[in-house]
């Protein structure tokens, strides 16, 4: 686990990054996903500095090549941008794009759910009920 302190906006933001060595997901993807999540949730805001790839690597005890890859991927997807000689910062987020991204993912999941539901004979009402129960549990 890694706790990141961001000293910006005259306050300290504590960010957690959990790396699992046993998960099948490559480590750079894990980092990518978690930083993305922090950005999308608003914990990391536009202009916030990210730790340097070296510091992140050494504090997480992983290879600097991995962190570089994670940052490259985040930059490629538009979540962060690099200022030469200064470091990486959270980029301006296009909230429409983000929403669109999420909608797309939901559609894909729904497609899968629909197929599985057919296999075991669930109706739409059954599915909605399941969703309702799930959301209640998550609250």
């Amino acid at each position: 686990m890694y706790i990141l302190y961001i000293y910006s906006r005259s306050e300290v933001t504590v960010l957690e990054i959990f790396i699992s060595n046993t998960s099948d997901q490559p480590i750079y993807e894990q980092i990518c996903a978690q930083i993305k999540a922090h950005i999308l949730s608003g914990k990391l805001r536009e202009g916030d500095p990210l730790p340097s790839i070296r510091n992140l690597a050494r504090d997480l005890r992983i290879s600097v090549i991995t962190t570089k890859r994670a940052y490259d991927e985040l930059e490629h997807q538009g979540y962060i941008h690099t200022v030469p000689a200064k470091g990486c910062f959270v980029a301006k987020q296009n909230s429409e794009l983000i929403k669109e991204n999420y909608l797309k993912q939901i559609e894909e999941h729904l497609q899968q759910i629909s197929e599985l539901a057919k296999l075991c004979g669930l109706t739409n009402d059954d599915l909605i009920e399941m969703l309702r129960v799930l959301n209640q549990e998550n609250l």
């Binding site: 998960s23 490559p26 480590i27 070296r54 510091n55 050494r58 005890r61 290879s63 600097v64 090549i65």
Partner: protein, 284 residues
């Protein structure tokens, strides 16, 4: 600039040959040398440090050919050999005085703080040090003259896990500076797995693999199945296998395995063991 560059390095001994090694360690990175006893790790490190001369090939350390004007370069290299070769009567404090008159950039304060951190008594004679303490002293010396490159031959062997972790932390700190680099050989693959950016496998004097650690981990996986399933896989997928009473375990190339097989993460140790196994079988 690369920290270490090795080209076509060959060294022949009576019953062992280090055969045509090619290796590059970029600045800012850590490379792990893994190999069995006698694979050639110590020989490689001796060749890089100038203790031994190669039969053919060239070695460049911090941009400089190690056959010429190597004295200046050695100011910037911290070497930990397989054993600590300090004179038996001398204490750590005296070592510091000697090093003060040896290294241009000897940092006495840093040295004593390492002594304290690693619980080393400054006035005790070296011959009264335990094996672990001897290695710790070597490491303290290597870290106390503002070296840019650390060359370490099994620095954590003989150390208990708690101390090993402390020392790994120190190495992690060292490598935060992008001008620094580390070449480290070890048996204890789990240490290397965390620290290294690149991994090199040595076996009987030959370099089997030299690759980015992440790529190695991504490209390989462990497959557990029946022997028949293994035989049905396309050729080139299986990199090595172990047949047991109750099934077969194999190292496979992840992307080439057809869907439907359950794959487990391979560790660097797995990859190493299977590579050596198949190298041995290849020769049989």
């Amino acid at each position: 600039m690369t920290a270490i560059e090795i080209k076509n390095l060959t060294k022949r001994y009576k019953d062992f040959t280090l055969d045509n090694i090619n290796l590059t360690l970029p600045t800012g990175c850590v490379m792990g040398l893994i190999g069995e006893n006698g694979a050639g790790k110590t020989t490689t490190i001796k060749l890089i440090s100038g203790l031994t001369a190669p039969d053919s090939g060239e070695i460049f350390v911090l941009g400089q050919n190690n056959k010429k004007n190597f004295k200046q370069v050695k100011e910037d290299i911290g070497v930990v050999l397989d054993e600590a070769y300090f004179p038996e009567a001398i204490s750590a404090k005296q070592v510091s005085n000697i090093m003060k008159n040896t290294f241009r950039n000897w940092d006495e304060t840093a040295f004593f703080s390492y002594l304290e951190k690693l619980s080393l008594p400054p006035k005790k004679a070296f011959k009264d040090f335990s094996r672990g303490m001897k290695m710790k002293l070597s490491i303290a010396v290597a870290l106390s003259h503002n070296a840019k490159l650390l060359i370490l031959d099994e620095p954590t062997s003989g150390l208990d896990p708690v101390v090993r972790d402390e020392i790994l932390d120190i190495f992690f700190d060292f490598i935060k500076d992008e001008q620094h680099a580390i070449l480290i050989s070890s048996h204890i693959v789990s240490d290397l797995e965390k620290l290294c950016d690149y991994i090199a496998f040595l076996h009987k004097g030959k370099l089997l693999i030299c690759e980015e650690k992440d790529k190695l981990l991504e490209q390989h996986a462990i497959l557990k199945c029946r022997k028949e399933d293994l035989d049905n896989l396309p050729s080139g997928v299986v990199k090595g296998c172990r047949n047991g009473e109750y099934g077969t375990e194999a190292l496979v190339r992840r992307e080439a395995v057809p869907a439907g097989f359950k794959l487990e993460r391979a560790t660097i140790e797995d990859i190493f063991l299977y590579s050596v196994k198949s190298a041995k079988e290849g020769k049989a």
